[in-house]
Symmetry: C2
């Protein structure tokens, strides 16, 4: 472990000392820190990002997106970390996707100037938040609409502000989430849009295929989006050139890229994909999705490697009260548990050289609010005070547990501390 | 709805504009706001506390605790809201319980001067956090210990600082969480304590009975704690007079109060109960627990009413895409889902007089990250733009989704905005 040469991370003044997962933040203006995770400089539990793995994932997705000639608007709701948005934009992203007016505002306040809100905008104060941002002529914002009722609310509000609001029509499926289900609903929305044509600009079509599980159903849904977009284009309903055609969560972006690029819209369309979890990846549903993508997708199949998990939650062994059980100082307050429990990845004993892979038979069997139950085997070399790094399943619900996350280099030196805004 | 007379809430400078669940925060020093929830002044989703219900619950617990003549150290990890800690102390609490060194630090920085950390303290940086607080002679801090290994780590660190650290021995049960399982472990811990007697003060005994489900097993566990405390007292192991005997989460505090007060320790003990969820209550496992308490416990049985839910998550109807389904702008990012999904409580249409009880057959059937699926009946009067208030199941995992929560009065005027620190 080369801990002699530390990179100095600079802690921004905005980062107060009251967030979990850091060490003591030096007082004063220039708050440079020389923290090393393995030297126990951080207060665990801590959610830690790996610089090289983030870079690997950024590059992987850029290569994939470029191969298809599509746009990437990573879903920012996953991390809500403007510093990571910045890395994504630096790596070629076209814009940032968000889920709420609040999230759009966070992105805007951190300099993001193209936001796709992949959700229906609703509510007076949410309208007001968007309206204030739209006073900036350099700010490009799109939200979704899926009902005449919503169009009426949007139209009335933004007409009163003498502002234009840009929308994508969201299509949905029966049994799914939001989105227009059928032609009758579509025609109602189009009629409402005709009433508000001076206020609301229809710029494209959007779907979220992730509400479906089966590839055949997903392909059919994507095809429906293509056909709807074709109809709307042929009817000259779009006010944007090129119009936008957007889909894709983190599990089916390959199929979305394939079907949308095969639609033959040429230069008349911008295809926008919105995966959010690729940046940190996980060892849960997105790892399974990625295995399918690497196997099935011709572009991904020829890339040298896949995405790799770039986020660990590190925590201490607090107690080994039974021969087959260790209690870890990490819980539902620290890691997602809705898509699989955290998986022990590394085991480190302070004072030793470097972490080792956690034994394959160690398993998190239960998560309480502040504790994890780790199943071990009798006689395993595990002690109170040892550090364990856990891979996580579902980045979104892990990020929202943390207000600050250190980024470490290969030597576990903290090179940066990033903030989240939830 | 008497919306003419607004109470002015003052937004502290520490509250930035980037937190979800508020409206636009006025710039400048004196940031007084006149927000009313029903006038749509807040950006939904928002987690909202009800002033009168908080007061009711505070008073209820004070009365209960006083009837037993025990101490209350509410578990602060539930809310991590120092303003609520303050209300709890104002209502007679003896101290605040926390689960981690970070949480202890948050409490300390907000003026709390007696902290019971109901968890094993582990890790160099966590030791350092506690050590710095202990330099304040006015700060009283207790943590738990359950292994000789941990005692050695604590002893070595605090001896080097020439500081004393105060611990409670934690007892645990087989199949449970942390805590000493048997006499052999107890004797090992006592031997380790003898080696560090100048550094580590043994001040009492602690259990968390909430790892058990059955009342008989809980009573047996409590009895074991009483017997262990008696042995340690008789052996003059305690350095504090009176010694501490602590137990109780939010589900079995009545039984803990009963058994511990019946132990006959008289003035030689301070019994400290640690429920955390009573303040906001819920409609999940704690409502069920409270029903048992009101039915079985002689003190609670004679009180005029029980605890009442004091926290709602308010959100908009975003879409009604199917005749039996509405999509709500609230998800796993906004409310706990591990102990039951949020339950629709109130339905309000902006512009109308006041909220009405949500129909009893409305039901949250699914929670995604940012959306809820609400089952409705065909023909129900529900529209895009309506506001729904949801009761929640499990306050802890709801609070940690929010950095700020407005407190409203009976007229839904915001009278205060509180911060959380996770």
């Amino acid at each position: 472990m080369a801990t002699r040469e530390f990179t100095h991370a600079v802690i921004e003044p905005a980062i107060g000392p009251l967030n979990k997962g850091l060490g003591p933040i030096p007082a004063g203006q220039a708050r440079r820190v020389e923290w090393n995770l393995l030297r126990e400089d951080l207060s665990l539990p801590a959610a830690v990002l790996y610089q090289d793995r983030l870079m690997h994932n950024l590059n992987w997705m850029r290569e994939f997106i470029q191969a298809y000639g599509v746009r990437l608007a990573p879903h920012g709701k996953t991390t809500m970390a403007p510093r990571l948005f910045e890395m994504q934009l630096d790596s070629g992203a076209w814009g940032i996707t968000v889920a709420t007016a609040h999230q759009a505002f966070v992105a805007y306040e951190h300099g993001i100037r193209r936001v796709l809100m992949a959700n229906e905008l609703i509510g007076k104060e949410n309208f007001a938040i968007v309206s204030r941002m739209l006073r900036d002529p350099g700010f490009e914002y799109f939200c979704l609409a899926d009902s005449a009722a919503q169009i009426e609310l949007l139209g009335a509000y933004f007409a009163e502000q003498s502002q234009h609001i840009h929308i994508l029509l969201e299509l949905g499926v029966m049994g799914g989430r939001t989105g227009i289900r059928n032609n009758a609903q579509l025609n109602e929305v189009l009629a409402a849009l005709a009433r508000w044509k001076d206020t609301i600009a229809l710029d494209g079509v959007e779907i979220y295929e992730g509400v479906l599980d089966e590839e055949a159903a997903i392909r059919a849904f994507l095809q429906r989006a293509v056909e709807t977009a074709r109809r709307l284009r042929d009817e000259a309903r779009f006010q944007r050139t090129p119009f936008l055609l957007s889909g894709a969560g983190s599990a089916w972006y390959d199929v979305v890229a394939e079907v949308f690029t095969a639609a033959g819209f040429g230069d008349s369309v911008e295809i926008v994909l919105r995966p959010g979890c690729y940046l940190t990846h996980d060892v849960g549903s997105y790892r399974r999705a990625q295995e399918r993508i690497l196997h099935n997708n011709p572009v991904a199949h020829h890339m040298t490697s896949g995405l790799i998990p770039a986020l660990h939650v590190w925590a201490y062994v607090q107690s080994v009260p039974e021969s087959e059980k260790a209690i870890i100082g990490m819980g539902r307050r620290d890691a997602a548990f809705d898509s699989g429990l955290p998986v022990p990845a590394l085991h480190f004993r302070p004072g030793t050289r470097s972490p080792e892979a956690a034994p394959a038979d160690w398993e998190t069997t239960k998560l309480m609010d502040q504790h994890a139950f780790l199943k071990i085997a009798p006689g395993d070399d595990i002690k109170v005070g040892d550090m364990i790094a856990f891979d996580i399943c579902h980045p979104c619900l892990t990020f929202d547990k943390w207000r600050v996350l250190p980024i470490v280099d290969r030597n576990f030196n903290v090179v940066e501390v990033i903030q989240t805004f939830f």
